[in-house]
Subunit: 712 residues, 2 copies
Amino acid sequence: MFMRFAAALGLLLAMVTPLHAETGYELWLRYRPVEPQYKSQYAVTTLVAGQASPTMDVALSELRRGLSNMLGTVPAPENNVSADGAVVVGTPQSSSVIAALGLPLQQLGGEGYLIRGVTISGHKAIAIAANSDAGVLYGAFAFLRLIQTRQPITALNVISVPKTKIRIIDHWDNANGTIERGYAGQSIWNWRSLPEYLPPRLTDYARADASIGINSAVLNNVSAEAVFLTEPYIEKEAAIASLLRTYGIRTYLSVRWSAPIEIGHLKTADPLDPAVKAWWKTEVDAIYRAIPDFGGFVVKANSEGQPGPGDYHRTHADGANMIADVLAPHHGMIFWRAFVYSDDRKSDRAGQAYKEFVPLDGKFRDNVVIQVKNGPLDFQPREPFSPLFGAMPKTSVMLEMQMTKEYLGQTTHLVYMGPLFEEALKSDTYEHGPGSTIARVTDGSLDHHAFSGLAGVANVGSDQDWSGSIFNQANWYVFGRMAWDVDISARDVAAEWAKQTFVNDPAFVNPVVSMMMGSREAAVNYMTPLGLVLIMSHDDHFGPAPWDEKGDRADWKAPYYHHAAADGIGFDRTATGSNMAAQYNPPLREEFEDATKTPDQYLLFFHHVPWDFKTRSGRSLWDELVTHYRLGVTQVEEMQKAWSSLGAYVDKERFDQVSAFLAIQHREAIWWRDASLAYFQQYSKQPFPAGYAPKYSLSYYEAMPPNTSPDP
Amino acid sequence: MFMRFAAALGLLLAMVTPLHAETGYELWLRYRPVEPQYKSQYAVTTLVAGQASPTMDVALSELRRGLSNMLGTVPAPENNVSADGAVVVGTPQSSSVIAALGLPLQQLGGEGYLIRGVTISGHKAIAIAANSDAGVLYGAFAFLRLIQTRQPITALNVISVPKTKIRIIDHWDNANGTIERGYAGQSIWNWRSLPEYLPPRLTDYARADASIGINSAVLNNVSAEAVFLTEPYIEKEAAIASLLRTYGIRTYLSVRWSAPIEIGHLKTADPLDPAVKAWWKTEVDAIYRAIPDFGGFVVKANSEGQPGPGDYHRTHADGANMIADVLAPHHGMIFWRAFVYSDDRKSDRAGQAYKEFVPLDGKFRDNVVIQVKNGPLDFQPREPFSPLFGAMPKTSVMLEMQMTKEYLGQTTHLVYMGPLFEEALKSDTYEHGPGSTIARVTDGSLDHHAFSGLAGVANVGSDQDWSGSIFNQANWYVFGRMAWDVDISARDVAAEWAKQTFVNDPAFVNPVVSMMMGSREAAVNYMTPLGLVLIMSHDDHFGPAPWDEKGDRADWKAPYYHHAAADGIGFDRTATGSNMAAQYNPPLREEFEDATKTPDQYLLFFHHVPWDFKTRSGRSLWDELVTHYRLGVTQVEEMQKAWSSLGAYVDKERFDQVSAFLAIQHREAIWWRDASLAYFQQYSKQPFPAGYAPKYSLSYYEAMPPNTSPDP
């Protein structure tokens, strides 16, 4: 009967023009029906749950939604296992059935989960167990992921414990609805209609975060506005927090250092002024009255014009500790960003954070975490890791990465960030010899810190597909999965994402994973090969602009970073230059100080070398530069070719979007290649390979209007 | 079989958690299945079409989509009528079946349509016929509307001809994706991913426009950026135009007067400089090469800081005619906005447009239309109509209104603009005695102009529901319907919209239409009763700010408009004041010049009267003001009450949104009432009615942070 019915349903659906085009709104939580051959394997008949709670309710609701849509039948709610095919869900406290199983839950900690095939009253069942309701929710999502990726669920014995305590998504959202460096529409927080209205979209946002283990969210831009600390805004934030809480997510805010002046009407924001501290105490107490599990503050101080304790000749420790003391009674954290650089242009911007923070190691309170971007500059397509990692053993240090592709093609370029995140996490600081990776810094194990965490800057917006493109969704996904497990492989996550987002067929998944895994290197090649950085246009960080001198500050101008001239190209960070390379532990220090030992991928980051410098390939620097730029374009062409053969596996809407965006990426990769080489060639005076002279003049590239790129 | 199948389908759908929540994305084109009792009445079996064309294809596709979803069966495509229940579609040119019917199509003009029950080869059929494919498309949408609103379709004989030639939607969209005065997310034009990518959303946008008869679209903000005239942008605009063209929509651009300087590198934009005219000719020729049916330009010149011919001591006619001459060979139009006011503060801003434009009557080329906002100031909740209407008989004058509720509660307030549009269109200018309404000006009949048109400023954005709220969609809908038929009733359109958007049950439709019809008057009452204008906050035009003196110019400050003082309140526009009332034709002039004859709703617009002035109700002005502000809040409470009883008729998502937004509207109506009265009371020194003293101090209201309002 069911088959006949399903066939009839299929017929009807095929006849009727679909009212719902594929928009990408469902992300990786699509729960499309499994193929007929999987029906028996995934036969779930009942859901056995214990005591209700808001979080348990959403776990059950997700299981019902996922199972009923994938399997075509709704699992019946039962109190006990009375037949094969039960899924038993709960904690030992909430469920007597789970308690009676005597599962080894201690190892799971507060958030881990266990999924195990068990026998109850003689019937086969699957237990999803944890020590907390949030753990059960993570287990429920993991179980649905197994089915979505067509894994066997017989004889399951999955134990998963997050390697970090705080897996935090940073929204750089402003009060006016814009998002700094967001490429997916406007903020999903509609401040004006809060606290009254929590749209369904916010629930779906929380589901997406929870499905990948994100347990913390910063609501507003690190370049913070004081208005977020006013009483009416706290009321709005509390409404969001109460929704997120149900999904195991704690709410945080970015704070503006000068808020005591701007909204407290004090004359100073000096951290050592008792009135300032008293103001913050009143403020923090008010927040905790509204949001009892409030997570804490993120602070971007004395950076890019933001105010900070430096304005009063106080250190970052003075500032962070003052607020930390106010947060501590509430168990609140403070994430103090190390992305600082002053107007002092005598020192190398890449080395400033180290100079400011390393002397403060050991001077921060326990609830202060220094939040460090993966690179010493600013989320470039490729940078060496920040030397602050492995240099502050007495301080909790957390890695911050970008899901949003500020410097990597933004909306349209297909660039999967997994390999970049993996490269950062696997970077060895050598703090205690080999194996002192950033993964071990951010998970706290290297120096035995109780705190551990990973922060990612969101690209979540009001666009129908949340992320501006289907493939951008993968960067949200991989961030969450890597924050949960800092050792997971980017390739495995890519496959997991592709299967859930599209289809499980290996004929689709394999080429797509290859595209994804190669995409970041492609972007490095066509944008900033060989250690080049920050040659994007100053304002929008998008197109090539090695000529751009528009910034107000020397270190906002592109030539500051590449130093291209007749004698060569690159920034000398060795002893003959800024000496920033000396901030790395040995043996990296020696490697980075010697151009012949520095890997080509960091060459121009650390060295100013002549145009005929011989690279490892044997080619001259100029030829190597040309080779990389050409390769980047070729790699995009290969992605286009691969995708063009996959139309049969993807709905038309999403297939067309990806095809069109790859065409844009191709056009813009050519733009990057030709504009960059046209600029550098005026210094190198070297010939272009035959057929590869830029199509337009340098002045044409320089005059491109915003949002446009030349016809290839 | 079908019923059993349908029942089974319903069961499955009920069992499975819906993956698609109601987002409002489908607007009024929802095409939900008709109730069983209508199935036989709407039995359509076949679709008989003639020769294909892009526009005919979308008409047929819309019919297939709508009919199959509403009726559950797909009408079979046939070449001839061979059974009852055929729908025959086409023009006499495209369809021999239509041609053979000998229908009276001449009266339809280029865009009208006819829907008629006919008998063909002995079978009952319905003919949807027109003289153009676009007319057929309008007819197709009208036919689907009949079914969506459960009208009988037997013995149909509908003839509909648009009363205006140009029904134009003005997008105030900027190149960076923001929308000026848009409250529904970002621009739906993604400039960066054009021309490669035309997302499905653009097709749905075009469908929505075409479904209500909109045939023209201005892509960019009237406060225009020159970049829209660059070659790469023309390529992007051409991609949009080719999509819109299929739906019968022509593309227009707003142009920046100084573009010849900014992108043409000329030294001047003087309209009488031959080099300037030559530049515009080259520009216009380039646009027409890319967009052969390009509609023309909208110009906001010498207004709010925009450049214009006045910068060179030339008149609006000098400017408009120069570009008109360049457009004329391409049959392009120029819409020259009359929303101008200079920095000269000696004259009343409300009277400036009249002074600048009336002397130019008769001096404009035939392809110039003066585009005039309904009120002399700026889209207020209520203003008297602009005296330019009925004052330029020798010039084509077009009415411009706002779909976006810039001054009427923006996203959240439920304010149906139908009554405001209707009030404007029915306003009698008395140009040729009674009956010289603005409807007759804008449809060209009053002074026998060949041109006719209606312009509306869009509130269309990237939000899932397009308009920021479900009820805001009604303002898009009513604009289109009124542009097609300037005499249609706002109430009829409200019912039509409510039926299509929600459900046909009169128990739902009647109270909702009542809410909608009363909503604009409620907003006038709680915001700007008795002829008050522009007491919103200067920047965002949202909350009450009669105290706001933040603007750079005198006429951007609220006190300039209300003149509240110890001696009374209101702007004297009679002979003792600015004398702007004299710009109206008799008998209005006499009415507006005498406070005792002026309708209360315009009282303070034309008169400065003492606080104890006796209004028509017999109450003092102060008491009348208080009464109106209180009534506005009560009217919102009545809407809340009405809506709260309608949950059974609406899906949860949309019901909850409207409920939450009404709660916000209520809170903000109280804010408007109390903040405004607290401010005015300091001058009136009159008592508040018992229980109606504002809850907070005036300084508290003045200090509300943006996006917040006080707890009621």
